[in-house]
């Protein structure tokens, strides 16, 4: 059980999903698992908000969905990044880095 978990800032869920999908198309559960593993369990994405976020991104055209067989041969909805999504990912990464740099600078002030 993770003892301390970081709360997600609003809007960062989108960024995480886009990044996760930038490597390969996945279905919703896989995304959630992946994020948990990679962040060393410090990020527990509330699974309930994952799907509305995925659908929102799909509506905006940054990811697109298709149904296909999963690795255990069951029918699943796979998401992958579109070109617009890739651009959006780049933009959001930039924004995130700017934000964190700014915050760090403020925290270092005497």
């Amino acid at each position: 059980m993770p003892t301390s978990q970081a709360d997600l800032l609003p809007g960062t869920l989108d960024l995480l999903i886009l990044k996760a999908l930038s490597l390969q198309p996945q279905h919703g559960w896989a995304i959630s698992e992946r994020l948990r593993q990679v962040s060393r369990a410090m990020l527990d994405v509330p699974q309930g908000s994952l799907y509305p976020a995925l659908h929102r991104l799909e509506r905006r055209g940054w990811i697109k969905a298709s149904w296909g067989p999963s690795d255990n041969n069951r029918h699943a909805k796979f998401y992958e990044l579109t070109r617009a999504g890739r651009k959006q990912l780049g933009a959001e990464v930039d924004a995130w880095q700017k934000l964190t740099t700014a915050v760090s600078l403020v925290l270092e002030m005497q």
């Binding site: 279905h27 559960w29 509330p46 699974q47 659908h55 509506r59 905006r60 029918h75």
Partner: protein
């Protein structure tokens, strides 16, 4: 950039249109997730049931995720609407009486309003069909001052049309036209039909291509005689010629000429007057433009102006004698109406001067101040539409008021219903249905009823418009297809408004208030709540119907006054005969013989008191014969004077009394001293305070003309619309003016209408060749004057009575409801010894109170608004006490009646039943 909103739209649409598929997908996706999570846990050794449970907890509430997703998709709203609709339909079906009452009431109110609106639309807003860029097209009217008052007129002379076209630079197109009923066809087939005599430029105003052949060109339309060619209308081509293409080149008889058909107008083309294709409604034919008898609303053929005019007179374009054409102009792009008007006025003044050069007795420019007025093409917007033009608006306002009364009725009904359902509503609120949701649902009910009422109203509106069109008759031309797209939009808007207004009433009522009290509510309450809202509604209804009825009463009195005016002639006992020679050439002698034979034959018929020859078109000649009177420098200033050229026996035949002296009789022969009979008004204007007999009038304007001596003074006549200013006429002897007669006045015993057919048959037998006689009752020619008052009286009365009936129903339902609510209390009273009379009195007082308050407010309203009504009334003050008291009495009576039934019912309450009931 564009991709994102587009993608959103596509997905949202899919969410709506294929919502089941979307829901299933979401469900599958979430189930897959749960399976995988459970699998993962099981592989770590957790037993299956546990694993599934923990997976579900980890995911969170599946239903909540689905809801969130649905919200994000934005379909929640639509879902709610669908549910509300289904529920509303179910609930309404449970109370068919209420539902029907509401729909019918709304239907009547909306229908009356929509019907009137469609008439107003046609009168005021519709441009002629297929017209190109109607916004730049205007009609011209001339305005000049006569005796200090402006006269507006829409008919111009051909020469004036040429002048205005030549001497202005603001217009890309000008056209002149005149629609009238002419004899079309030959022999047995001859019928009078609407024909448009139109300048060639008329066709260029429209985006219309001929369906067959071609339109005529300006080369074929030049004075002094245009080519005898004709363009048929599409419906006439279909009905009369079977739509055959070999119709081109054949000839058609119109009026006095034979015209070669060179083309057919496209379907839907009706010329310069607005309207769809002609049609009749249930036998009531809609009326054409020149005050003639009923007929089609669009012309059957177009012929060049100069072709028709040239046949009648070789010199029609040389003088300013004959004013018969409407002028329509199209402004060049960028020219404002003000500039165009100024341009036209300048040209008109120049033309006026040119006319003065020919006719020196015409008033000079500084006296008459002639100018041109431009108005939009719909005839209802004419500057001289006068009172007739305003009547539709008044009727529209009245219809709106009736609609408000109807809506108030419905709101009251819905309030009562909401009150009855208050326990159910309180329960639902207590169970957690949001107030907004509940309000939406009640509103949906209201809107659903309103839509049903609106559709009913559309049907009723169609009927109302037809009835109104039939009433309106000669003053205004109306085409077929009375319910147009604008009317439907208007109807929809009104329906929406009414639906919101009446739906809100129960909403406001039901979602406020104490839940607990409502839940516990039952009939066994000590007192009952008088619904203030319902009482207010009923009072509103009472007030509005009172105001309407006062208006109706005033109009009815005006109409009665108008009818009582002495017209100065007798329309009921006279028949008018018009000869139509159809181009047959008769010498003067032959014509005189024919007229004499016709007169003798008519006079010898049983039931005929006398027959006299008709020389002037009755009441329709301003023949421009200048008058001069020694001692008066400008007779024109005192005009206008209407001329009637009459035969001996005229005054007796037409019923105009001679007040002094003698009428024109057989002593006024050719060569005898010239005689003239003047009307009393003319005598008053020319020789105030003096005896007119023996005075000299020179007819012809120049000082060398011999005197016509005044031999008689006739009573005044009213021929040009009711007004307080009398008309001045004078009468000359036909023999002395050497004018041929073209018809007869036949005075009969009994109703003129009964003699039309017998006279026609007798006289037609004497007519040579293709000539024929047209016979009609005199009343047909001169009925227009009373019409606007008749219409006002009828419409106000009909709608006022409707409003009163609705208000009565409103009062009845409130009182009845109150009585039902108080059954328990009444039972107690009876048990304690109250008598039937007491109870009846109790209930009646209840009702009377509502009625009297409403009536009081209504009368105040009527008195205040009366100011605006007074220009439409005739000899009636808007505060006429007889009308006001009469209406007050009616309303009190109706209120008593409406309360009587529940009162009687109260008296018959069985205390045993009432006390035990809940």
């Amino acid at each position: 950039m564009l991709g994102r909103p587009f993608s959103e739209l596509v997905h949202r649409l899919r969410a709506v249109v294929r919502r089941d598929a979307v829901e299933r997908e979401l469900d599958a996706e979430l189930r897959f997730h749960l399976e995988r999570e459970a699998d993962k846990l099981m592989r770590a050794g957790v037993p299956r049931a546990d694993a599934e449970r923990r997976a579900r907890i980890a995911l969170g509430g599946v239903e909540r995720i689905k809801d969130d997703d649905r919200d994000a998709r934005g379909v929640a709203f639509l879902d709610a609407v669908r549910q509300d609709l289904r529920y509303a339909v179910r609930t309404l079906r449970l109370t068919p009486g209420f539902t029907l009452a509401v729909i019918v009431t709304l239907g009547l109110g909306i229908g009356a309003t929509a019907g009137i609106f469609s008439v107003i639309d046609r009168l005021m807003f519709q441009s002629p069909a297929m017209m190109h860029d109607p916004g730049s097209v205007s009609r011209a009217y001339e305005s000049f001052e006569l005796r200090g008052r402006p006269v507006v007129n829409g008919y111009f002379e051909y020469r004036r049309y040429l002048d205005l076209t030549r001497w202005t630079s603001s217009f890309s197109q000008t056209a002149a036209y005149a629609d009238a009923r002419l004899a079309v066809g030959v022999g047995q087939d001859a019928t009078e039909m609407l024909v448009s005599r139109a300048s060639a430029s008329v066709f260029s105003f429209f985006d219309a291509r001929p369906a067959l052949g071609r339109f005529y060109t300006p080369d074929e339309d030049r004075p002094p005689q245009g080519s005898l060619v004709a363009v048929l209308s599409y419906p006439y081509w279909q009905s009369r010629y079977g739509g055959r293409s070999d119709v081109l080149g054949s000839r058609i008889a119109i009026g006095e000429g034979r015209y070669t058909i060179i083309g057919v107008a496209p379907q839907g083309f009706t010329g310069m007057e607005a309207g769809a294709t002609a049609s009749t409604f249930g036998g009531l034919a809609l009326i054409g433009t020149q005050g003639n008898a009923a007929g089609d609303a669009s012309p059957v053929a177009w012929i060049p102006v100069t072709a028709y005019a040239g046949l009648r007179s070789r010199t029609f374009a040389d003088n300013y004698d004959w004013g018969w054409l409407n002028i329509v102009v199209r402004r060049k792009p960028g020219v404002s109406p003000a500039r165009a008007t100024a341009d036209l006025t300048t040209a008109y003044r120049r033309s006026w001067e040119a006319e003065r050069a020919m006719e020196p007795s015409l008033a000079p420019l500084d006296v008459s101040r002639p100018r041109i007025l431009l108005a939009p093409t719909p005839l209802g917007r004419a500057p001289n539409a006068g009172v007739e033009g305003r009547v539709p608006f008044w009727v529209g306002a009245v219809a709106l008021i009736t609609l408000i009364v109807a809506a108030a009725n419905v709101a009251g009904l819905m309030l009562a219903r909401a009150f009855r359902r208050r326990r159910e509503i309180a329960l639902r609120l207590a169970l957690g249905v949001g107030r907004m949701r509940l309000a939406n649902q009640l509103l949906t009910e209201g809107l659903l009823l309103a839509v049903a009422g609106g559709l009913t109203g559309l049907g009723i509106g169609w009927a109302v418009a037809s009835a109104f069109a039939g009433l309106f008759g000669a003053s205004v031309p109306l085409g077929g297809g009375l319910v147009g797209p604008r009317t439907i939009v208007f109807c929809a808007a009104v329906t929406l408004l009414v639906g919101l207004a009446t739906g809100l009433a129960p909403v406001l009522f039901a979602t406020r208030g104490d839940l607990a009290a409502a839940l516990k509510a039952g009939a066994r309450e000590g007192t009952f709540q008088r619904s203030r809202a319902r009482a207010a509604l009923v009072i509103l209804q009472g007030a509005l119907s009172t105001a309407l009825l006062v208006g109706a009463g005033l109009f009815v009195r005006s109409f009665a006054n108008v009818r009582a005016l002495p017209l100065g002639y007798d329309v009921d006992h006279t028949v008018v005969v018009e000869l139509n020679l159809r181009g047959l050439q008769l010498s003067n002698a032959e014509q005189k013989t024919l007229m004499q034979r016709l007169t003798d034959r008519a006079a010898s018929m049983p039931g005929v008191r006398g027959a006299t020859q008709m020389v002037s078109i009755p009441f329709a000649s301003f023949e421009g014969t200048g008058l001069s009177v020694p001692g008066i420098d400008s007779v024109q200033r005192l005009g206008p004077f209407q001329l009637q050229i009459v035969s001996p026996g005229y005054f007796r035949a037409v019923g105009t009394r001679v007040l002094a002296g003698r009428p024109i009789d057989s002593t006024d022969r050719y060569g005898a001293p010239l005689s003239i009979v003047v009307s009393a008004e003319m005598a008053r204007r020319l020789w105030p305070g003096q005896n007119a007999l023996g005075k000299c009038v020179k007819v012809g304007g120049s000082p060398t003309t011999p005197c016509s001596t005044v031999v008689g003074v006739a009573e005044n006549t009213i021929t040009r619309g009711i007004s307080h200013e009398a008309e001045a006429n004078y009468y000359l002897a036909a023999d002395q003016m050497d004018r041929p007669a073209f018809g007869l006045y036949v005075r009969v015993v009994g109703r003129g209408a009964d003699f039309v057919e017998p006279v026609r048959r007798q006289l037609q037998a004497l007519m040579p060749g293709v000539a024929y006689v047209r016979v009609m009752p005199f009343s047909d020619m001169v009925d227009g004057a009373e019409q606007s008052w008749q219409i006002g009286a009828t419409m106000f009365s009909a709608l006022g009575i409707l409003a009163l009936v609705l208000a009565a129903i409103g009062i009845y339902s409130v009182i009845a409801y109150n009585v039902a609510q108080r059954t328990h209390e009444i039972g107690v009273r009876i048990a304690l010894g109250a008598r039937a009379a007491n109870l009846t009195g109790l209930v009646l007082r209840d009702g009377l109170r509502l009625g009297v308050i409403g009536m009081g407010i209504g009368i105040v309203l009527a008195l205040v608004a009366g100011r605006w009504l007074s220009p439409l009334l005739f000899d009636v003050s808007p505060r006429d006490p007889a009308v006001v008291f009469g209406v007050a009495g009616v309303l009190v009576g109706v209120t008593c009646l409406a309360s009587a039934i529940p009162a009687l019912r109260a008296a018959r309450v069985d205390p045993n039943v009432a006390l035990r009931a809940d």
